[in-house]
Every structure is written in structure tokens, then in C-alpha cells.
């Protein structure tokens, strides 16, 4: 380690780069270093991704053919529910927080996150929550089977697995809020001199806005599930008409959290892609300011569209029309982002390393999900799509091809900075192409299934849906296996390979590329001097 060159951003000599605290397991348990914590977040989310993936493959195995071959309906519903919860709260969200931990201090030129001990606590809340959640499979009655949306009164009927899920959500919510506070303070207070807000890398902007969304809506989710908890055990009747409550109230509260939540899962992805495209197009990001405004307006609009998930609950025409218009409007800033990315590519000098492939793949396939979102926003037509496989296709296009592909892109992009070695480009590209193909084989046919009338969340179906389901299952297993290749590429890269330079990518710009690869344990202990290149002359 001592051979590693010192932090080039501040050339003077200071104490050694490597780590001084406890070693072994204690190093991780007591970790306060943003890079250590970031690594733990990423490992945690990958483990959750694999667990959720196993559940998904069990579901797909059951759906391979009509009839019940693999699991019984009760267990099928538990698996769908847990797959959703694990992927959303265990895989996607923590993965983005992992990126934030690793990269935000490096990008803004800060030595660490603002509250290093709280950072430790936000991470270490997650494993107990995960154990509680996954452990609920093994209690009497099994895990909750009410769908990841946990609609009352069905969730009120569930066994104790539901209570465990509620507590797990409380804990993960607390973790998210702490993480979000940390991110907000780091970005607002710890930027290098000269880096004004409008000069920060876009990833910082998207995370800043996401962090505000998290702080705003995680308590709402906690409130919703707490009301379920008291309805279950303490005789309240929030969601029970008998005592003056209303089951639909749950949906309003849940989706008031739920729609901003989907943007929590996609805005950081927008940020990652906005870092990568300019690098490989060797051209500054087009429309930086409009990207910031688009992100902010998406976030604000996301608070007034929640009832588009509830068009079939029977609301008055006026309400329906309001939520329809508001939802359609979100397509405008989303479109602006896509146009900006393409304009960034336009007349660039592009190369297509794996991060770029995943980013371009992201734009292409995520936008398909955006189109189906637009179709879903049309209330009278949504009546036919709602709760069918069409919706399943929509949210996998935006979450898998959106959030997950962006996470892959970001991983390949910054991996040399994390490990100090280049990953195996050939295998990375193979991972991209296999993911892309299998993703579409799995999810594209689901549009047709939904249109033809197959409802979601069922273990068995009419034979007219058999062929597309078969195809989807084949695709899903291919997609699942492909992710083992991803794990292999990562492990191989951690073990060694071609040495990475500090700059890593020819077109890369930003403070994170001024520190050596691998990034030393302590960076920017003296604030670097930031000069903006590219945007804003």
C-alpha cells in the first residue's frame, strides 16, 4: 500500500493512506470510512439481489406451464411479495446508497461523509432488517403474502410474518432517512471551494433531490404500515369500514409514498448515466441546467400523481382527470432527459466500453418503460391494464432496464477506481449483451400477456397464455445465470488485472479521477481546488 502514490489533488505529504483502525471483522463493524461503508452497502445489496432473484426464478418456474407444479398458491403469493420487498428495499435502494457513499465525497472533494458514525449506523441497521424480513418465511403462517404494496385489509388478515415485515420496513426506513440526511449535509456543506451547486456533477444533484424525497416519504410509509399494525393488534379501524375507516385510505397513504419511491429508485440512475455518457462521448453533457430543472420538476410532480395507481378504486371523474393530467405531465421532464442524453452523444467521439453499453442500453430500454408509463397514465385505458402483466412489464422495464442497468453501468465505470484494476472488458461486454437479450426475452412478452387479459399475482393461468409464459421463464433463467457472470467479472477484477490509471477513462472528468486508483483509504483531507471544465464556460 505504501507504494501507492499520494493523493494527487493535494500534492503535499501527509500520513499514510492506508487504514489505521481495527482490523479483521471489527474493521467492518466499526467502519466509519465512506469507502468501507459504500463497499458494505454494495455487497449487501448484491446478496439481496441474488436472494430476490432466487425467489423470482421460483415464481417463473411455477409459471412455466399452466397447472401447479412447483409451489402452492399460498407460498407463491409469499414469494411474489417478498421478491418485491427484497428487490425494492434490499437491492435497488441500498445499492444506490452504496454508490452515494463511495462516490459523493470523491466527487465533491470531501474527506468523508458528514456524519461518519451515523453512516455506520445506517448501514448496520440493514442486516437485522433483512434477517427479520427473510426470517419471516420460517415463522408459522410464513411470510406476508399481501403483495409488496401490502394493501389493507388483506395485510390485516396475514400471520405474524406481516408484523416482521412491518418492523423490517420501519428499520429500513430509519436507515434510509439517516443515509439521506448524511447525503444532504455532505453535498450542501462539504463541497470543494469553487464548486457551486450548479457546477456539481449531475450524480450529486440527482442524489441531493432523491435524498429530499426519501426524507419526505419514508415516514409516510412507516405511518401506513404502523396503521396496519395497530389495525391488526390494537383494535384501531383505520382501514376497516366497521369503525368508520376506509380500506382505500391505505392505498392513498401507500402511494403517496409509493410514487415518489419509484423516483427514488430512478433519479440516481439518471445521475449515473449522466456521468457516463459525456465520458464516452468525449463531449460535455448537453443541457446541464435543464437536467437539473427536469430532475427537480420530476421530484415535485411525483407528489401529486399518486392516485394513478388507484384508477380502478372508483374515484369521481374529476379526480381521475386531475391525476391523469398530472401523470402525463411527468413525461415532459423525463423526455427532456432522454433528449439531453442523445444530444450529448450527437457529434461526439464515442467508444463503447461496458459502462457506455449499459448506459445506451438503459436509455433505449428505459424509454420503452416510459412509453408504457404514458399509456398507463391514460385513466380510461389504465382500467384495462391495471393489475395485469402489462403493468408487470412496465415496472420491470423501468426498474430492471432502468435502475439495475444504470447500477451495472456505474459499477463498471467506477470499478477500476475502487479496485485499482481494469475489469475484463470482453466479459463485461458479454454480460451486457446477455443481460439485454434475456431481459427483453423475459419481459417483452409480458406486455402481450397483460393485454390479452392475464392478471398479475397468480400462480396458474389459462393455456392461451402458455407460450409467452414459457418464453418469459426461459428468458428469466438466462437473465439469472448471466448475473453469475457479473459476479465473476467483479471478483476477477478485485483479484487483479491490468493496473488502472488515475484517470481510467480517456474522456473522464471530475474530482474522483484526480485521486489514484484504487482510491486511497483517505482522500481529500485537504480540500482540492476545483476548476469547472466543459459546461459553463
Amino acid at each position: 500500500m505504501s507504494a501507492v502514490p499520494h493523493d494527487v489533488a493535494h500534492g503535499h505529504d501527509h500520513h499514510d493512506d492506508h487504514h489505521h483502525g481495527p482490523t479483521g471483522l471489527m474493521r467492518w463493524i466499526t467502519a466509519t470510512n465512506h469507502k468501507d461503508i459504500g463497499t458494505m452497502y454494495l455487497i449487501f445489496s448484491f446478496i439481496m439481489f441474488l436472494s430476490g432473484g432466487v425467489m423470482a426464478l421460483t415464481l417463473r418456474a411455477e409459471l412455466f406451464q399452466p397447472g401447479l407444479q412447483v409451489v402452492q398458491p399460498e407460498f407463491f403469493n409469499q414469494l411474489t411479495t417478498m421478491h418485491g420487498l427484497v428487490m425494492v428495499f434490499g437491492a435497488i435502494m441500498p445499492a444506490f446508497v452504496g454508490f452515494a457513499n463511495w462516490m459523493l465525497p470523491l466527487m465533491v472533494g470531501a474527506p468523508d461523509m458528514a456524519f461518519a458514525r451515523m453512516n455506520n449506523w445506517s448501514f448496520w441497521l440493514l442486516p437485522p432488517a433483512a434477517i427479520l424480513l427473510i426470517g419471516s418465511f420460517f415463522v408459522p403462517g410464513g411470510a406476508t403474502a399481501a403483495g409488496w404494496t401490502l394493501y389493507a385489509p388483506l395485510s390485516v388478515q396475514m400471520g405474524m410474518g406481516m408484523d416482521m415485515a412491518i418492523f423490517a420496513i420501519h428499520i429500513m426506513g430509519a436507515s434510509s432517512i439517516m443515509g439521506a440526511i448524511n447525503i444532504v449535509v455532505t453535498i450542501l456543506n462539504m463541497r470543494a471551494p469553487g464548486m457551486t451547486l450548479m457546477k456539481m456533477p449531475l450524480f450529486c444533484w440527482t442524489w441531493l433531490i432523491t435524498a429530499y424525497l426519501l426524507i419526505a416519504v419514508m415516514p409516510v410509509l412507516a405511518g401506513a404500515v404502523t396503521m396496519v399494525l395497530t389495525d391488526r393488534h390494537f383494535g384501531t379501524t383505520f382501514f376497516n369500514a366497521a369503525g368508520g375507516g376506509d380500506p382505500v385510505l391505505y392505498q392513498h397513504v401507500f402511494w403517496f409514498f409509493g410514487h415518489p419511491e419509484v423516483y427514488i429508485m430512478i433519479l440516481p440512475a439518471f445521475g449515473i448515466v449522466s456521468q457516463i455518457i459525456p465520458t464516452f462521448a468525449r463531449k460535455p453533457l448537453f443541457g446541464y441546467a435543464s437536467m437539473v430543472y427536469a430532475t427537480a420538476s420530476i421530484a415535485i410532480l411525483s407528489f401529486v400523481v399518486w392516485a394513478h395507481h388507484m384508477f380502478t378504486t372508483g374515484m369521481p371523474a374529476k379526480t381521475q382527470i386531475f391525476f391523469m393530467y398530472a401523470t402525463m405531465l411527468i413525461a415532459v421532464p423525463t423526455g427532456v432527459k432522454v433528449f439531453n442524453w442523445i444530444a450529448t452523444m450527437w457529434r461526439g467521439s464515442m467508444t463503447f466500453e461496458t459502462p457506455m453499453l449499459f448506459s445506451v442500453g438503459f436509455i433505449f430500454v428505459f424509454t420503452l418503460g416510459g412509453f408504457t408509463g404514458l399509456m398507463l397514465s391514460i385513466a380510461p385505458v389504465d382500467i384495462q391494464y391495471q393489475d395485469t402483466y402489462f403493468v408487470v412489464a412496465h415496472f420491470h422495464y423501468v426498474l430492471v432496464a432502468g435502475s439495475l442497468f444504470a447500477l451495472f453501468a456505474g459499477t463498471y465505470y467506477w470499478l477500476p477506481k475502487w479496485t485499482g484494476y481494469m475489469y475484463d472488458e470482453k466479459l463485461g461486454k458479454r454480460h451486457f449483451w446477455l443481460s439485454m437479450i434475456f431481459f427483453n426475452v423475459t419481459f417483452f412478452p409480458m406486455h402481450f400477456l397483460g393485454l390479452a387479459g392475464m392478471q398479475r399475482r397468480v400462480p396458474d393461468y389459462n393455456p392461451m397464455f402458455a407460450d409467452f409464459n414459457e418464453l418469459a421463464t426461459v428468458g428469466a433463467f438466462g437473465f439469472g445465470l448471466t448475473q453469475l457472470l457479473f459476479a465473476y467479472v467483479i471478483i476477477k477484477c478485485i483479484r487483479g488485472g491490468e493496473k488502472a490509471t488515475a484517470q481510467v477513462w480517456e474522456g473522464a472528468e471530475g474530482l474522483e479521477w484526480t485521486v489514484p486508483s484504487p482510491a486511497p483509504h483517505h482522500t481529500f483531507e485537504v480540500p482540492p481546488v476545483f476548476e469547472a471544465k466543459g459546461h459553463h464556460h
Partner: protein
């Protein structure tokens, strides 16, 4: 944007038109295929179908134009082809244009959609009102107004249990058939009231263009007017527990005469057990 871009624009539009042609040709084939909505059996379902196709068209055109640019750029602006990066990074005109044009497109979508919402919500002047009650896991029906008033029955899945378990090859209407279907006359406005006994269910018949959640403790309403005879199948569309996938809906749309005959038969059926029950003991009868 230069000549180059204008040329590209022209090319893209041509490509879009070509692709559109293929799509149009396939649209007829797509009607009632497994690639699209079921063939509509009511005006409302037909309107929804048209709106859906309108949306697909618009999205397809935007898709072709936008990704035409992207793939052209991927093809032409690569380093390996010697492309040198330009350094432009903003253009107020372009940015205003691509904000305003989408807004206009959205207006084109919102206008017909709004009309359809208003029609969908207009449950007045119904000829027949039927209440559908969701139970875990079956549907109960009560004809509460119009011809057939007073008819009440429970409708459960009739797919043979053997098929549900293992092996046996499922029949054509596997999981979509019931013992007592809902029967309604053609051309009459049928208002469906939904409610539920335990948890939320949803009453959905795709070909008729209706889906309405059934909420315990409250009623909601929707309507349809079938414009052709036939058997239309639907399912519960809100997760309601273990057997959510096993509570289908079957609606028979029949002529007015057949409907009258069915009503008479139902009335007789419900009268018979009542009369039987009135007799104290079977032995003393006859």
C-alpha cells in the same frame, strides 16, 4: 442543427412511415390475437381499444424518431470512425422545442382520454342493476333493479379440481369458467355495483371494458352495454389472498327473449326450494 440533421430527419420520417405500414398491416391481424386486447364487445371497450391504439401509434412514431437519432449517432459519431467531438452543450431553441412539442402531443392524448373518462363514469339511466359481491374466493350476484330483480346466486370456479392440481392437460376455459354465469341482455345498459365481504377484489371483464374494485363496506359502480351476444370471461383483478387466481367471472350476453326465459327459469328455481322449505316434512307431503 445543420443540413445533416435535416436530411436525417427526412430519412427518419421515411423510416417511420415504412415501419408504420408494417404495423398497420399487422394491426388487422392483431385484432383479437394474443398480442392485443380481446375483441371488444361493448362501445366502451371499443373506445378504450381505439385510445390504446392511438397511444401505441404516437409512442411508436416518437420512438422511431428519437431512436433514429440515437442509432444514427451511434453509427456515425464513433471514435473508431475518426469522429472528432464537437463541444456544444446547450441550445435554448432546441431545448424549448423539445419541451413544447411533447406538451402539444400530450394535449392530443388528453383530449380523447378525457371524453372517455366522462363516459365511463356516467352510470345514469341503467336498465338493469346487478350487485357483484367479492368473497374469498367467489363472486355473489344480486339483480337489484330492472328485469330479473330479485335473482341472487353465487358463482364459483367450475374447472375440475383434478386439472388444478397436477399433470392433466387443462381444458380450453381452464380457470375462466364458473358454475353460475352472469346473464345479461344485449343492448341494455347494465350497471354493476361492486362491494366485498372480506378484502378488496376487482370485477374485470376485458371484452366489456369494465374493471371496478370491490371494497368491503362500501359500494362502487360502473356500467357496460354489450353490443354482441356471446360468452365473455374475466377474472378478479386485485390480489385477495390464496385463491385470487381462482375466482373468474363469466358473463353471458344473450338476446332479450333468451334473457326473459332465463329470468323465468331463475325465478322458478328460487321459488322451488323456498316452497320445499315451507313444507314441514317430506313424509307429510304427497
Amino acid at each position: 442543427m445543420t443540413n445533416n440533421a435535416a436530411l436525417l430527419m427526412k430519412k427518419t420520417v421515411q423510416a417511420a412511415a415504412g415501419l408504420g405500414g408494417i404495423f398497420a398491416a399487422s394491426a388487422t391481424w392483431a385484432a383479437n390475437s394474443k398480442y392485443n386486447f380481446q375483441e371488444p364487445a361493448s362501445r366502451m371497450a371499443a373506445d378504450i381499444h381505439d385510445l390504446h391504439m392511438w397511444m401505441i401509434w404516437i409512442c411508436l412514431i416518437i420512438f422511431v424518431v428519437v431512436f433514429g437519432f440515437m442509432f444514427y449517432s451511434i453509427y456515425a459519431h464513433r471514435k473508431s470512425k475518426g469522429a472528432v467531438a464537437a463541444q456544444f452543450h446547450e441550445s435554448t431553441t432546441v431545448e424549448i422545442l423539445w419541451t413544447v412539442i411533447p406538451v402539444l402531443i400530450l394535449v392530443g392524448m388528453a383530449w380523447p382520454a378525457t371524453k372517455t373518462v366522462l363516459a365511463q363514469k356516467d352510470t345514469t339511466n341503467a336498465d338493469i342493476t346487478i350487485k357483484a359481491t367479492g368473497y374469498q374466493w367467489k363472486w355473489g350476484y344480486d339483480y337489484i333493479k330492472g328485469e330479473g330483480e330479485g335473482i341472487a346466486f353465487v358463482s364459483t370456479l367450475s374447472t375440475p379440481r383434478g386439472q388444478l392440481e397436477f399433470g392433466e392437460y387443462p381444458g380450453e376455459n381452464y380457470l375462466l369458467e364458473v358454475d353460475n354465469p352472469v346473464v345479461v341482455p344485449i343492448g341494455k345498459k347494465v350497471r354493476i355495483l361492486t362491494t366485498a365481504q372480506d378484502v378488496i377484489h376487482a370485477w374485470w371483464v376485458p371484452a366489456l371494458g369494465v374493471k371496478q374494485d370491490a371494497i368491503p363496506g362500501f359500494i362502487r359502480d360502473t356500467w357496460f352495454r354489450a353490443d354482441r351476444e356471446g360468452v365473455f370471461r374475466g377474472v378478479c383483478a386485485e390480489l385477495c389472498g390464496k385463491d385470487h387466481g381462482y375466482m373468474p367471472i363469466e358473463v353471458h350476453v344473450v338476446s332479450e327473449e333468451k334473457y326473459a326465459a332465463w329470468v323465468a327459469a331463475q325465478k322458478q328455481k328460487s321459488a322451488a326450494p323456498a316452497a320445499a322449505a315451507a313444507q314441514p316434512a317430506p313424509a307429510s307431503a304427497s
